[in-house]
Symmetry: C2
Subunit: 442 residues, 2 copies
């Protein structure tokens, strides 16, 4: 249980209306049944987000999650992160039981026709519920759905065509709305389908994994894989809204939950020490799927991602910091075979390696190394690469990394106090070698 | 030969710096070897163009085509129509011999890698020339190409994947440039590929048919067909520049040339009487591929299309007027089998039918009917549907037209003076019936 003294304090880049510090974040006991309050008011933080096509503005703000006493009287008000993109602005709704609040979804449906895109695993769990939420009290709306096979290996053009087939056979027109119901795979595919069908139709995201709730719902990237590489074909395309019902995480396998938390931990390490500290105290609540803790972690993650994207649309520097642990992690995913480890698991091991290297370079304190190890263990995430990985496997994959410039591999490394990182090719190669050797047998 | 008195005068919606009227347009003798001047200065016309995604501005301006005396001293300066889309503005270069001016293309190539997308017919004619233009004096640039099969039936996802395959196998990155070399099929496919590859790379259009030079290069629509319908999958995506070398039209089959002229004639009828009058006087020059006449007709067409799109991005009314003759024409294409008649041929017959109906409604003078017949004949375009078309064939296709609203088919019809049209469902059904019966056996 957190002491009030070092509970959440927001980073200096944010301007907030500061209440008494103990009201700024949920402080959770190990049991998640006790009620608490979230921040009563955060001033709007206006950010500049620029996609390739247009300069846009993200405005992240938060409204309070009601306390339990209030929720018993009626539906719980969602936490809202507003993504301000000019005339394409949209809200991210975050909270427990949001799929039982049909008006949230219905206000963002344009036209009378909806196509839900989901997969074989998620359909039996949530398709009826979402269909109901879209249609209850709304007899004019008709809902079709298309159920795709489950898995990253189906994130391809052949399967995408099934979405177009369904939309066209259903005679949907420009005024229809596509709804993505599922994890990042479904969100990316449905988003790209919505971007391309009739050159663009309305689109709503209902992400159902931690990974999709904290990462793929912000930034507008959609797309599919090519047999020669991941996410090579796609579009920048923004939804009408993102609806995150934290209750959907109750059916998520433990490994998938933990995998998503690796990205949450990443945000703390690269830029938000206070968030990291909050996580250190609340990891058990997150692991036990406490709705308020999840809602807070998701909100804070969305805000962090929105802010980074806003400051560096072209990924020339800052945006690359979102890839902490991903270069080592990518080598693990490739070397070990995609799908054996989940993405977040590979990222977790990658973060440990990046942190180890940062420490060898003398850029961070030993205490940070220990805290990273500790929080990942709490999240039941790996803290080392698979035993079969060799130094050579790492080197061969890292040699063709996108971040190689003029033969120099640039890495995201921690430097200085907790919450600070650098993206640099200016480091002693010996430290990289030592890190690889210390984590690999040969 | 035109009398100077009724040579070009620009429509009232344009503000221009008026020179002496005889210098405003090329007046062409039947032989195209005599030199002349184009307008010396047109003030910029600022237009609002809004795609679904962003509000943008088109600014159409024209710079003079140099006269022949000047061209003998050096390369001919292109006519330029500037499409002003904020930070995605681009020029359309129009003129003879532009592919021999490598600097025009090279200034718009981003990065060091280029992928030319073309087809089996066009590659033997222009691939070397374009490759040379891209690389001469530019040793840092490397050019790959992909040659697609020729034909509307290959405008599909399977063939599009060949473009992605090539781009990925060539290890192109975000800084590469795709070049579309061909007609509307290649332009639409390459544009959509550029929009989707790595979520968007640079894109240059080199349209080589009249149809693509006067229509598909303006408005940003790109895409492919689905087996159940045309152009159902795509994106709004703008090029870096459009380079129209009118010399490429020298190899274009006569039928393809004429087919494109149907759209040119359409612009005159729906909104630009002066342009129509210019065409009446210069159709022979266009048919004999006089470069200056072609350049002028292409420029004026691009300006007209840009202006219409700018005034009605959502195709709620005005933009639909670009479909004059297309509802009847579409019935011909569908009923007669796609590809038997070219698109512009079907549109020509469709224009005649729309004009006939407008006359039956008492909305236009008999003289307009005669002038339309006459100009289409000059362009060697059909002035009636194929003999095998029946009233029923027309009716069944027109019943499912996108422009049917509440059971009423809205049509683009001429009304009033030359150059005026309406988009309306408010007409006497008898006139439509009479028109169909007068053009069909049964
Ligand atoms: N667009 C972006 O910016 C972005 C960012 C990060 C990741 N991604 C993409 O996201 C994908 C990974 O997303 P993911 O981790 O969500 O994987 P995923 O979509 O494959 O979901 C993981 C598994 O959980 C199942 N599942 C989802 N929700 C469930 C629920 N509520 N209950 C039970 N099972 C559930 C899925 O069916 C799947 O089997 C990758 O394709 C990656 O490229 C995109
Ligand atoms: N994007 C838009 O706004 C828009 C507008 C109008 C039409 N279109 C699309 O454009 C397509 C029709 O375009 P098109 O009429 O140019 O057809 P096309 O691209 O099929 O070209 C017609 C024929 O001419 C050949 N050809 C092209 N240039 C040549 C040259 N210089 N010399 C010799 N042969 C040449 C082609 O290989 C082809 O056989 C359709 O798919 C239509 O949907 C798009
Ligand atoms: Zn990741
Ligand atoms: Zn047309």
């Amino acid at each position: 249980m957190a002491s009030t003294a070092n509970a959440l304090s927001l980073p200096v880049t944010r301007k907030i209306a500061v209440g008494s510090s103990d009201r700024l974040a949920p402080r959770l006991p190990s049991s998640s049944s006790v009620s608490f309050r979230l921040p009563v008011e955060l001033k709007q933080v206006r950010l500049n987000v620029t996609s390739r096509a247009t300069r846009v503005r993200i405005c992240a703000s938060a409204t309070p999650v009601m306390d339990k006493a209030a929720s018993e009287a009626g539906p719980r008000a969602p936490t809202i992160v507003d993504v301000d993109l000019g005339d394409r602005s949209y809200p991210i709704y975050i909270g427990s039981g949001l799929l039982d609040q049909p008006e949230l979804l219905q206000r963002h449906v344009h036209g009378k026709r909806v196509l839900i895109v989901t997969n074989e695993t998620i359909a039996p769990l949530y398709l009826d519920k979402v269909t109901h939420a879209l249609t209850v009290g709304n007899p004019n709306v008709s809902v079709d759905h298309v159920i795709l096979p489950d898995g990253e290996k189906y994130k391809n053009m052949d399967v995408l065509m099934k979405v177009f087939d369904k939309a066209i056979e259903s005679r949907l027109d420009r005024r229809c709305t596509f709804v993505a119901l599922g994890g990042g795979v479904i969100g990316d595919m449905c988003g790209y389908a919505a971007a391309s069908f009739l050159r663009g139709v309305n689109f709503i995201q209902i992400p159902t994994t931690v990974m999709s709730q904290v990462d793929s719902s912000v930034g507008g990237k959609t797309g599919i894989n090519h047999r020669l590489g991941k996410n090579l074909i796609g579009a920048f395309y923004q939804p009408q809204c993102v609806l995150i019902d934290t209750d959907t995480l109750n059916t998520l396998p433990d490994r998938e939950l933990a995998s998503g938390l690796a990205e949450v931990i990443k945000y703390g390490l690269i830029r938000d020490a206070d968030f990291f500290e909050w996580q250190e105290k609340n990891m058990q609540a997150l692991m036990s799927r406490d709705p308020a803790a999840l809602a807070y972690a998701i909100k804070r993650s969305c805000e962090n991602k929105a802010e980074v994207v806003s400051l560096d649309e072209k990924e020339s520097g800052l945006r690359a910091t979102l890839n902490l642990g991903h270069t080592f992690g990518h080598a693990i995913e490739t070397g070990f075979g995609y799908g054996v480890w989940l993405h977040g698991e590979a990222v977790a091991a990658g973060i440990v390696m990046a942190v180890d290297m940062s420490y060898r370079l003398g850029w961070i304190d030993e205490s940070i190394v220990a805290r990273v190890q500790n929080i990942l263990k709490q999240a039941k995430l790996p803290t080392a690469p698979p035993e079969t990985m060799t130094v050579e496997m790492f080197k061969s994959v890292m040699a063709v990394d996108k971040k190689v410039a003029d033969g120099l591999l640039r890495l995201i490394l921690l430097k200085g106090h907790l919450g600070n990182c650098v993206f640099t090719g200016d480091y002693d190669r010996k430290a990289l070698d030592e890190t690889l050797h210390s984590f690999c047998k040969s």
